[in-house]
Symmetry: C4
Amino acid sequence: MGKGRIEAFSDGVLAIIITIMVLELKIPHEAELTALQPLIPVFLSYLLSFVYIGIYWNNHHHLLQAVRQVNGNVLWANLHLLFWLSLIPFVTGWTGENHSAALPVAFYGGVLLFAAIAYYILTQVLIAYEGRDSALAIAVGRDWKGKISVVIYAIAIPLAFLSSWLSLGLYVLVAVMWLIPDRRIERALLS
Amino acid sequence: MGKGRIEAFSDGVLAIIITIMVLELKIPHEAELTALQPLIPVFLSYLLSFVYIGIYWNNHHHLLQAVRQVNGNVLWANLHLLFWLSLIPFVTGWTGENHSAALPVAFYGGVLLFAAIAYYILTQVLIAYEGRDSALAIAVGRDWKGKISVVIYAIAIPLAFLSSWLSLGLYVLVAVMWLIPDRRIERALLS
Amino acid sequence: MGKGRIEAFSDGVLAIIITIMVLELKIPHEAELTALQPLIPVFLSYLLSFVYIGIYWNNHHHLLQAVRQVNGNVLWANLHLLFWLSLIPFVTGWTGENHSAALPVAFYGGVLLFAAIAYYILTQVLIAYEGRDSALAIAVGRDWKGKISVVIYAIAIPLAFLSSWLSLGLYVLVAVMWLIPDRRIERALLS
Amino acid sequence: MGKGRIEAFSDGVLAIIITIMVLELKIPHEAELTALQPLIPVFLSYLLSFVYIGIYWNNHHHLLQAVRQVNGNVLWANLHLLFWLSLIPFVTGWTGENHSAALPVAFYGGVLLFAAIAYYILTQVLIAYEGRDSALAIAVGRDWKGKISVVIYAIAIPLAFLSSWLSLGLYVLVAVMWLIPDRRIERALLS
């Protein structure tokens, strides 16, 4: 089974998720700076989620590139990941509209946690299909970044009830971790 | 006529359907757990519809993979299927918002029924084009799963007026039927 | 310049247009049949527009299949067509919500007219690029269907102020004209 | 790393951006011409933004055509561009709804400015990857159009507080500049 359509479908869903989030930036009826003020937390949560969807698209792109064929298990593991990512616009809007109150921030972390687990499952399903000594298995390696992310989310979720800003800081930290040192590791793995 | 664009267009429509359904999860203005309570039935109907669209995408993927070329009839049979699937967000939202009242659940079943019939028509149009002894015709076989689904929907629709939960249970049953034993049959057909 | 991306982008835009129209079917708050009654004209205008977008996608598919390469003119002629088609959800919703009042129906016809003209321009730009004796030019032929459509729209628009139902009947007639006898002509042209 | 998916994802995002803007054309409840009057500025800002997204899609298409492979930097430079473009529906709606008041027009210009800068960065990242003497580097040349655009935006933004119509005129001017003389330059560069 070719991988072209799973890529096309995932691209479509991710493109829609990333774009409909902007609809939460409700257009103000006044043309004044003060009218934009309540939109600032919505904008910041949009920015964070945009980066997260970007990271997922990026990693998804890399992951499927190392794969030649897919089977039914892969299709469903992929849909499972897309399901959790499809909830990101909801938790993004909820967090933004409530100025980062504890509960929405905790739910945001919950969705990130389940998306991370879904991504891990997708990786494992692909490795099971490609083989333990495939290029994919070697490239994924021990996947410490994926594991650390899950741990940080698990800490950040209860933490939201103490300080939602600390939780959001941890989500930003995970995003930065995926953004910056990616290439160094990639090179290390490829060498 | 190549099949690339029919796949791309269907992927686009299905990706949008699966993603706009989440917009029915209206973001609550309060940051409390009680604010999420009215969203639970909306979420559950979203989950069911997500799985259904996933199944259709999956089956559509398999179906077109067994095909080499398409003609005008196939394009219209495909659009007919997409039309019924495009109504799923409406019946999903109606069912969710009315806590699974009888009428929305019956309409939900009606859309599932017509989508199943449209899928059956698409299969037959493709077999007519590919030939009765084509790989596709053999892979589809007697299509008992498709036929049983139609029968179950036809029972579930009037049943909604007795117990909408029983109807929803039957819709879940059909979804599970398509999800689980798929591979065993596939193998049987391929052997 | 390859034609792959112009197809992909058009598929994306058409898939979104065809799917967001369904958002005009506002989910009723009651679970009763009477709550669906005001949705009937909205549903019928959705159905008509779905068929129209389907016809355009279908014809667009055929048109670009006869083409090998595209240039900047083609890209802009294509965007011009997509612009008019992007207004179809607006006139569809306006027509449906106002129970086919004269003005929305006339505007609907206006958008159909400009879309038909835009499609004609796209055809001519492609023929100018491919050459007067290309397979495309022969396949398009005199394009009497395109010309008749424009004439019917031009009649139907002022007619809406006498009887909007007669105008809508003419729009349906054009759709049927494109749906049904297509293959016979196709065969005639190919023989 | 192939460029197919970056094209597909960008096409998806741009197709959604261009299409969801039309949702700002809120369907009036009355079927009269006066009901359309408040929509005229919304329509005009939609038209301008449609042309801008069209130009970006067009240029993006050309840019990636001159490229063979992409790396992680390119993916992020591309996402950065898509981020700014994703804000165009917001500033379009804000400008349209407030009849081109100073502040929304200035913000519109700000988003255009940052999108132009993001496009410049994408170009530079691609040239850095392809090499200073690549076909891409030669085709882009000194990129005076990109630089002039940035200068015009930088003038138009403060100008909005004197006359928002003058600012909008400058945005139209930049759009026309990209639309019309493109081909002459292209030919000059190719000869």
